[in-house]
Symmetry: D2
Subunit: 331 residues, 4 copies
């Protein structure tokens, strides 16, 4: 039984708490949140003790591992504290919005990085995962091109966007991680186009609502990412991998398979699964399972702080590319 | 070059005339229709000579073959006259609405039946044909069940329905032929249910607007047909074949492959191909091609008057079954 | 908190135990199974007390409700005992294999039947449920035809089949319930065709491996069910509802949405969700939720013992029809 | 009746000859090819007179219009000769491989350009056309992003590739035209990535086998094109248009709609329509129809030499971008 504390009782902490509580090899022992009523609400539902101070949870000897779901600017501090206290860590993305701070954290962790996992949940989506595994098995031969579609159902509140780090570091960072993972090779060239097509106020933030990114690896593999802050038809998350031996596509998910044929339209499907907590329900469950199993068995973690730093470097490069309308090379 | 005369310049005659005229191994030499202006219109478009009397075409030495697209009650007479005049014949379904007359025609033809083809166009649809061929190749193992969906986009005019012979002889007869052809075995048991769910005036005709039929062959193969005179979403023509080694489904056809994702519906496809002349465009072209090739090469015709009689027997049995709400056995 | 005992720790009892244990408004207090190690295994995982005798659970004052997942021939006895002890009951289908015993149970329950729910899980499948609701809303106008596909991935062990009551009472009974529920009207006419196409040994049991059924209601609504004990491509569960204003189809479910395009096949999808516990995971969870909510709030149960008896009557009629190759009328 | 001469009896000339011959408002009067036996073969099939010299056809008073399907390096010369002889012209793409020669031709044509149409056949594909029309109707609101997939089934012979002008001018030029047409605005920024992932010998030609292109218009609309010379699963031609009010996708085409469900794969579709003459059969037919109708009625031609020059400019820019790994700006 891995004894786990959840740091942060917000939206993502709630997802992790439920998955920990239902896991047969884990136990939810503590939830920490400065707003103690949030922590209380979670422990009432799933058990464990509620505390205000995340450091109390980190230093409690009854805790084996912590899941960090606190605001981004606290990730590095809590990650280091927990690792230094000998705890295993699952930390939500991003490591930090500042690449220097993120790289410093990676350096500071040293060998302890082997027990710190980063929460790029999409790697655990059964569809993306199937594609990753089947590429490895040779089902599409040598990989040549990857096309990623990543569109949110609606613009986040402007107050959130102000502190988000911008569309590349906040949203496309997931796709940069997917791209690295599927490509199996580091991109060495980034070109990004950013537009403000429906939310002009983003100009004041130096941010964009609609972006496209093109990546190339050293061996010539290619990747395109298209991204929008607002798709009226729902949360659009697709991936296409094309190679010398074929192609694979991961499509969107729906609530049911029902199709309607009416006098006006001869085939209509229902809504896509809404936003990330519905769409990636399975992915979050499988992510925590992968964390629990790797820590319990002492095997390698599937996503590391290094992955977090590399995705952030791509996001920084994309921001620079879009701002300067020029190609950015990475070494 | 097979020299062909079209008898009947109506809707179906027009389809055949265009396909004959465009065929590289055939020539449209004559069109016969009592309404000479209809015949003229067709020959103006596709060449050939227009005449009023079908018998003039049948006995013209310049004619090798005739396509009979005249009213049903003239089929037998014209078919016999043409066969006796040494012409090859492609006759639209049905042979006749009266099984006794149809069987008498089969008998009267004798060996000449080998040059009389019946126009069950659906056998030439590339999808149905692919399923037929792949069953023969063993792609679904031993065939166990067939499910046929056959729904017209809208009720034919009541004046047409009065002389149609009823839904089983007019419409489901196509599905009875498909069933026999796909099953590869004669049905020995017919059970049909007929309802008047939207057109009560059919009661006066002893006809139904909505029917279901269940068939069984001697070896126990099973078939279900569901049929409606009115599907508001378009012409619905599907077939499913299920066997010991798998299943195959032939779906409907659309004008384009475009899918629309909007705020209200996250995936909408466009209209089905409308009614039989659009949906079965390829089938009609391939049917006449099969006729021309078989006659030119002296090989066996793919659909015979015997097939026409057998489908009519099933239609008669289904009508009796629906009227008496009892199973009908065929020997 | 509804305190629930699970009677029977077999395959279906395990499904219900997990769903009860995870439900926020219920508590798993007891598991009863003559093989105490089975009961122990379940309580070890999900909590509660293990006992051997189901009557001990039924009469324990700490128990508010029981879920009966024991062998079929004990359903009636345990259902009556529990109802008489004042417990709410969720009983797996069928009520019994003998319609007389089932009807006697319905009569014996009297008013207590309002607290006895029958486990026709498919009504809680989100797809079937969406169709049921949308028919009620008029999305397809007046309902005319229903087509149900119901094929198991593989033959159950012959030892199981011997005591199953036959394909109609064991397997198609689910489809009879679906048909009644979707049609919204009782069938008055049953015609069934039964064949032994791959398992000749079923002849000794008077059973069939492949069946088709055709139903008609008093108002002329029609339904076809096609059913096989063995579909090599997986668990095939579909429903099509056709009406004056359109059609709806509920398709099968898959593990992922991944499509593969290779040199041999240009589009391949992955396996269907395997058998009933995977395919109907959501349905079982929503079924127990509906039970817990109805009992907690005192509202009407969505499936009753009367539904169980009516489905069994249709199964009996279908068996008789297939055996005699004749139509069976129900009053 | 528009009297048409086909210049060039090769692969594309054969397509046009058949479509002209079958068109009710046109007549195929001449086919010109230096290899007279090729011209003879076509006139034997579809009528008209065979000649060797294209200029003979151009200057024949019986000819109203010419279709130029000769080698690329003769396009400009024949186009100018025909226009100057007062003929209407439908010229295959590209205008020329040299942008200077193409622009000079545009200038030399002057007002006669209004009777010269360029053969970008994909604009006449019913699916692409539906998307173009529905964007204009507002079905997806303001257009934000376009994603084009364009993959050939197999590498053309190296001998062809040597004289092709490279992947951007030979193949992606179709997609540049599609992009301009769908975007409804000129791209002002081009970034292209070129790789040699399976045909290293292309290095000697300065050509690529796999490319990705990213475009931006002045108003910030974005477009990604992904392109390969070899997709083992067939001719892959898709387009996705995303806007403020929704998305539309045009999918690939297949020979039939048959789906197969077997023990290994639970759903398999058949091959894509092979290469451009099968995939774009309808588009070629509708292209010549649009030409015939516009010339007959004196209305504006849907694709002009200006379109041909603009697509070539994008191809040149993409080549430069890929060669220099830098963004290219267009004014």
């Amino acid at each position: 039984m891995l004894k786990i504390a959840i740091l942060g009782a917000g939206r993502i902490g709630q997802v992790h708490a439920a998955n920990v509580a239902r896991h047969k090899d884990a136990q939810l022992v503590m939830v920490a949140d400065p707003f103690i009523e949030n922590a209380n609400a979670l422990t009432a539902l799933w058990g464990g003790r509620a505390v205000q101070d995340p450091l109390e949870a980190i230093h409690d000897p009854a805790v084996d591992a912590v899941v960090i779901g606190t605001p981004t600017d606290t990730h590095v501090e809590l990650m280091l504290a927990a690792a230094n206290a000998g705890k295993a860590v699952l930390c939500e993305k991003p490591v930090d919005l500042d690449i220097h701070k993120a790289l410093a954290a990676e350096k500071a962790l040293g060998e302890k990085a082997s027990r710190v996992m980063l929460g790029f949940n999409r790697r655990f989506d059964p569809g993306f995962n199937e594609i990753h595994q089947r590429i490895a098995k040779g089902d599409i031969g040598d990989l040549h091109q990857v096309v990623i579609t990543s569109r949110d159902p609606g613009l986040a509140p402007l107050n959130y966007l102000k502190h988000s780090g911008g569309i590349f570091r906040d949203m496309v960072i997931h796709d940069f991680d997917l791209a690295r993972w599927i490509l199996g090779e580091e991109p060495v060239e980034v070109f990004a186009t950013g537009s403000r097509l429906f939310e002009p106020s983003l100009e004041a933030l130096g941010d964009y609502d609609t972006v496209m990114v093109q990546l190339r690896t050293a061996s010539g593999k290619q990747c395109q990412i298209n991204c929008s802050r607002q798709a009226v038809y729902g949360y659009d998350q697709r991936l296409e991998a094309f190679g010398s031996g074929g192609m694979m596509i991961n499509d969107n998910h729906r609530e049911t398979t029902v199709r309607h044929f009416g006098a006006q339209h001869t085939e209509v499907r229902g809504p896509l699964l809404d936003f990330f907590m519905q769409r990636y329900t399975d992915a979050y469950r499988l992510e925590i399972d992968a964390f629990i199993q790797a820590i319990s068995k002492g095997t390698a973690l599937p996503v590391t702080i290094h992955d977090g730093c590399q995705a952030l470097r791509l996001a920084d490069a994309a921001q620079l590319s879009a701002d300067t309308q020029a190609v950015v090379k990475l070494n």
